[in-house]
């Protein structure tokens, strides 16, 4: 796991990353794959969010606060650039299928 932009936050980042990664492994393989039902997806989202908060919520808050408190982002003049980039490129889901992808249905 790589460094944080502020060395003060690197230990927190590493702890967060390893907690997230083990949560993420499970997140990637929902028991009901390929569900189009919004209810199934919403329930899964809720269940996984709860699981994440229980396991990693605390370290995530600490890590995020550290990056913010260091004001590393702001000091480096990045806040405006970030805002701009996100407005230009808002992510909306669900993701449309790849045009070149052979159908897996």
């Amino acid at each position: 796991m790589s460094q944080s932009l502020s060395s003060e936050c690197t230990p927190l980042k590493k702890e967060y990353d390893s907690c997230f990664n083990s949560w993420f492994e499970g997140y990637l393989e929902p028991a009901v794959a390929n569900s189009k039902s919004p209810e199934v997806r919403a329930a899964y989202s809720k269940q996984k969010a709860d699981e994440f908060n229980l396991k990693c919520g605390k370290i995530w808050e600490q890590y995020r606060t550290c990056v913010q408190v260091q004001q590393a982002v702001k000091e480096k003049g990045l806040d405006k650039l970030l805002q701009q980039a996100r407005e230009e490129n808002p992510l909306v889901d669900p993701i449309p299928p790849l045009p070149t992808q052979p159908s897996s249905k």
């Binding site: 796991m1 790589s2 460094q3 944080s4 932009l5 936050c9 980042k13 967060y16 997230f20 990664n21 993420f24 492994e25 997140y27 990637l28 393989e29 929902p30 009901v32 794959a33 390929n34 569900s35 189009k36 919004p38 199934v40 997806r41 919403a42 899964y44 989202s45 996984k48 969010a49 994440f52 995530w60 890590y63 995020r64 990056v67 982002v73 480096k76 990045l78 650039l81 970030l82 980039a85 996100r86 490129n89 992510l91 889901d93 669900p94 993701i95 299928p97 790849l98 070149t100 992808q101 052979p102 159908s103 897996s104």
Partner: protein, 173 residues
Amino acid sequence: MRFFSQSFVYDDSWSIVALAFFLRYPNPYASHVISCDVISREQTPSGSLVTTRLILKKGAMPRWFPKGIVSRAESWVIEESEVDPFGKVVRCVTKNLDHVKVMQVEESVQFAQNAEGKTLQHTEARIVSRFGWGLTKKIENHGLTRFKANMQRSREGVSLILSLIRESRLQPM
């Protein structure tokens, strides 16, 4: 503007490639990555995970580039990704936040499960320079050459991480 696109198939399943993609820093093929932070991460009601990461990368200016214009050859990169575990798709867009007038590289990559249970990676890149001074084309061509070379290294990095994950799970391919 220079445009580039390429597709590639990994033999591994989508979930392992998606994991490797998010674990790809650091690796020996990405020594140019100085730092990488998660700025925000949220789950959408539809079950997707949306992440913004801020990455600092080291770069090098070509020898022919005029001196004194770019004071430090480092670049902040924003990476926005969305992971849909139901549709088995990762979509990720990255672009540099500074030096954008010299050159902006916007890369979008998708990892999707294909019919054989393997993982298709599709990458597109747009390379734009607004530098002028008769150098625009040269800068864009240079950017394209570098992008292609970096893509090869990036894939080697992901492949290395994939083999490490396989090893740790003791699931030989």
